[in-house]
């Protein structure tokens, strides 16, 4: 017997690797204390922690508009959505910790180290229409990706995704409803909506990552059934789902090369400007510095609360300390 959360790892032994590969091939779920190759563990820590950081930083672009929501109904929705993003971050951090890395280390990598998060959150939210378009396009893209990840080979990741997918549909629906409302509004509101779609369309498509041939991590992740589909297939699925929704509310996407391919039933998009994607990843997006500064400030200004709670616990419930 041993304790949950404590993991000891043997060296990667070819026989164990073969058994692991066979379990993946049989579609089995890999659980925290099961033997796994070091590379699997590291890729998952990288991918899951980036995902968790993205959920948390994702609160900032939308938090920007909570105080300026045009009605109480919209304000309640936005508050609930931003709270969900915090919850989603927590689900995935909790899953990541089962791989033998603790929360403090993950936060350290995020706030003061080199950990990445989704580039989409480094774009500014300039108008109220952005709140609708983020729900519709950004959360819509996230759903396509997370629906696949709900079948990931690593049990804790898959279970966190199931929980997230249930909640994410609310995010997309409220966003699309907001867009549809603006689309029926004044000429100024329609123009504001179209402008937001023009700004968010390409960054949303970039959320699926580079083309498969240029994606350094895709091979391993597909082999281990962390992902079951490549970036391009997921992106295509999102495009096909979204364009009829755009048409229904009378907005267009900023792609002069867009055409429908009868043979495959796919909407074919024009070339993606990957130089922009890599600039934002490198830290040169419009809001990279602002986002990280805001997160550090929140973390540091919350320190006294964490310390006070720990001091209170030590005084009143010493048992909790020894349980750690």
């Amino acid at each position: 017997m041993d304790k949950v959360g404590v993991t000891t790892l043997p060296e990667d032994d070819p026989a164990l690797v073969a058994e692991f590969d066979a379990r993946i091939a049989r579609g089995e779920s890999i659980e925290p204390k099961d033997w796994m190759p070091e590379k699997y563990r590291h890729q998952l820590i990288r991918m899951m922690s980036q995902h968790a950081h993205s959920e948390v930083v994702g609160m900032l672009p939308e938090g920007n508009w909570i105080t300026r929501a045009p009605s109480l109904r919209r304000k309640m929705s936005l508050l609930a959505k931003v709270q969900d993003e915090a919850g989603h971050g927590l689900y995935i951090y909790c899953g990541t910790e089962t791989l033998g890395i603790d929360r403090a280390e993950l936060l350290e990598q995020y706030l003061y180290g080199t950990a990445k998060y989704s580039s989409i959150f480094n774009y500014p939210t300039l108008t109220w229409a952005d709140m609708g378009v983020i729900g519709w396009l950004v959360d819509g893209a996230a759903i396509v990706n997370q629906t696949m990840l709900a079948r990931a080979s690593y049990g804790p990741y898959a279970r966190a995704m199931v929980r997230i997918c249930k909640e994410e549909n609310f995010h997309k629906r409220q966003g699309y409803e907001l867009c549809a409302t603006l689309a029926r509004g004044t000429p100024g509101q329609k123009a504001m909506l179209q402008n937001a779609v023009d700004r968010w369309w390409w960054p949303s498509l970039m959320m699926f990552g580079p083309h498969d041939k240029d994606s350094p991590n895709s091979g391993d992740l597909l082999k281990w059934r962390v992902k079951q589909k490549g970036n391009d297939e997921l992106r295509q699925r999102f495009v096909n789902l979204t364009l009829p929704q755009a048409e229904a509310i009378g907005v267009t996407v900023p792609d002069p090369d867009l055409k429908f391919d009868e043979a495959s039933g796919n909407w074919l998009i024009g070339p993606i400007d990957w130089s922009e994607f890599y600039q934002v990843i490198k830290g040169n997006g419009p809001c990279n510095r602002e986002r990280l500064t805001a997160r550090r400030k929140a973390h540091e200004e919350g320190r006294w609360v964490r310390e006070a709670a720990a001091a209170h616990a030590a005084k009143h419930e010493p048992a909790a300390e020894s349980a750690a």
Binding site: M1, D2, Q83, L107, L111, H299, R306, E307, A314, A320
Partner: protein, 100 residues
């Protein structure tokens, strides 16, 4: 910087179990960090029951859970795996008995 704090003061981890409405048993939902049981319960509520998913929540210090290990799973579960006669399919019913 955050380093000093993380070394000394990370809140302990708690496992969270939620019971859905309708009489089903508590089920593992995930985990939370909290300095004590009361805050663990509140954090668990905020993280795992935002949409009426639960009528009851348990929190248990992760370090207090004792679990079976995957490496011993074979022999550990063996006593229950080789007794086909504990399943109804092991037994035959006479021909002609359609509903049993």
């Amino acid at each position: 910087m955050a380093t000093d704090e993380t070394k000394v003061g990370e809140w302990p981890l708690w496992e969270v179990f939620t019971q859905p409405p309708g009489g089903r048993p508590h089920e593992h939902a995930g985990s939370v960090h909290a300095p004590d049981a009361e805050i663990a319960l509140q954090n668990a509520r905020d993280a795992y029951t935002r949409r009426g998913e639960a009528v009851s929540v348990w929190v248990v210090p992760t370090a207090r859970i004792t679990a079976s290990t995957p490496s011993d799973a074979g022999p550990f579960f063996d006593p229950g795996n080789d007794k086909a006669y504990r399943h109804p399919q092991f037994y035959k019913t006479p021909r002609g008995v359609k509903v049993f």
